[in-house]
Symmetry: C2
Subunit: 337 residues, 2 copies
């Protein structure tokens, strides 16, 4: 049924080896033979059995990506934008990408182990790094190639791309204080995530800078979804002395916060300022358009992918650590007090 090398060998009267070499364009095969073999191969609709090839070659031309899902689903546009960047770049470089989703924990670790030991993939792209990230330890112990999107807390050495969340939040809070805000709430991500750490650090430092008391800067943790943002924002808005600005640590939570404010009859950008972080495509089209920090998610995906492929192919990385500065985009969701 399926065409294999042997069929081409039979059809051409050549040996399997010769056919293999002709197909792979070795230069010790006559042009004549090559032409013949290629012709027949095309006629028969041959394409190589990937497993056999990989078993032999000991590499898979596949990159692994295990998305950490909190809760039953990840429908975060952030991930889909990232995945697009990774996937498209991978296709250009001749790599496939093997995706799965696993909640942080034992199952996740098993999945990594199985992929490494079973040689499912040549390397991993790690996303959303965590404090004490067992994935990093595991990968390093196994001496397995990987590139992370995000840094780690410990002084572990591994290649990464990350955005400077601390810097970003500082720029953002300065924007808010310049507008006259003196009471600013923050919608923070779960603290075990590294980016939560950096963004929160920026938030806190810039408060000190502006002379704002901790009591005037309530921080609530949300689960990064609209719903999470909505729920936490409600608490903020219904408190005794609600903030005049809410800085959400991602766009999705900012959208949730906007809903909460609007539900209470407030005009976002006037009665209250709400900001995000990430600049997902939706941010430009919310009502009002969201003031947020832009990170080039799609490009980051491509970049990470590229770095990993270099690593796998044993090439040196020009830059092992990439830290990007997010850019403040002031849109209409923030305004003066």
């Amino acid at each position: 049924m399926v065409v294999k090398l042997k069929d081409i060998a039979d059809a051409t009267g050549k040996s399997i080896t010769t056919v293999s070499r002709a197909l792979n364009d070795y230069d010790d095969v006559s042009e004549e033979t090559k032409a013949l073999v290629n012709k027949i191969a095309k006629e028969l609709g041959y394409s190589p059995n990937t497993w056999a090839q990989r078993l032999q070659k000991q590499h898979t031309d596949t990159l692994g990506l295990i998305l950490p899902t909190f809760g039953p689903r990840f429908s975060d546009p952030f991930f889909s934008e990232l995945l697009a960047g990774i996937g498209n770049r991978a296709a250009q470089l001749g790599y496939d990408i093997l995706v799965s989703t696993r909640a942080p924990g034992e199952e996740e670790e098993i999945a990594y182990r199985a992929a490494i030991q079973g040689k499912r993939v040549d390397g991993f792209i790690l996303v959303r790094t965590r404090r004490q990230d067992e994935r990093i330890t595991l990968l390093q112990e196994s001496d397995f190639p990987f590139v992370a999107f995000g840094r780690a807390e410990e002084k572990l050495d591994f290649p990464f791309v990350d955005e400077d969340g601390t810097h970003g939040m500082k720029v953002l809070v300065r924007h808010l204080t310049a507008l006259g805000h003196k009471k600013i709430g923050c919608l923070a991500p779960p603290p075990e995530l590294m980016f939560a750490h950096y963004r929160l650090q920026g938030f806190k430092e810039s408060l000190t800078e502006a002379g704002i008391q901790e009591s005037d800067a309530p921080i609530l943790v949300g689960d990064l979804t609209q719903r999470g943002g909505y729920e936490q924002a409600c608490k903020l808005l219904d408190s005794a002395s609600p903030p005049t600005a809410i800085a959400a640590c991602n766009d999705l939570m900012a959208f949730g916060a906007m809903s909460a404010a609007q539900e209470r009859g407030m005009v976002v950008g006037k009665d209250i300022s709400i900001t995000g972080f990430d600049d997902i495509p939706m941010a430009e089209y919310s009502h009002p358009p969201l003031t947020t920090l832009h990170q080039p998610i799609y490009e980051i995906g491509g970049r990470v992918c590229e770095m990993l492929v270099k690593l796998i192919q044993g090439e040196a990385l020009k830059e092992r650590y990439v830290l990007l500065k997010p850019e403040l985009l002031v849109r209409q969701s923030s305004g003066s007090v």
Copy 2:
């Protein structure tokens, strides 16, 4: 470096064969031996080389998904929600999922051929079916298992899950006409997509039902993104006699249309009604929340996945054709004239 069967064999003093059978829980291996082998295997951190296993077993436990991208990227939340549904169900069923992105055309066909011939995957999940869909022809000719999300124009027989777009649009337009709208614009998807066909059919039929002239129901084609929706909606709104309602054929375009209207100082849900289709998670949190047709995207992903696995495993499908009724969710983006 990497642990293989031979290492366990050496460590236990058993043969490779016995070890293999012990690990796979054959009943012709003594309990004693099994226990020993499993213990040592765990100690050594063994997991099988996937490629060797697959070469031998002739199946891959992997499902293929090639996302059709129009334009350079797909950051459609619709796809990420679908992927989540597929991915999580696949993990439960012990399958991996191999994702790539390819624009419709020759490259896409090559990717399918290579995956089939090279036995990369056991089956395919086809999304966003098209008129004269070459993918379907190809898969059928190759007698390769697949399940589609979406129907095909021709009377081709293949298992699918789809939502009844015609019915959905009818329900929606009835809602709009009941609110008194007599001039309704439509933001349609590219016509080569099957779901465009069904949704548009519903739109047109319900206009006839309501006695609305074609001239009062302008249809503009957009590219399914917010930007596309925005651009086409601008044309509609800036025309000589703009519609009082805009029915977008997906949520993303509806968001774009909302921006266009708001930019012109209109209050959506009051000065103009705007509706979507899909009910992506964002729809609930837009401002105003979007009136749209709900389809259970996440669940559909899981369902399609399940059907494909059954097909691969040779089990009979209880339902070969699944047609779901989308449910109208009236939120605040639609109101009476």
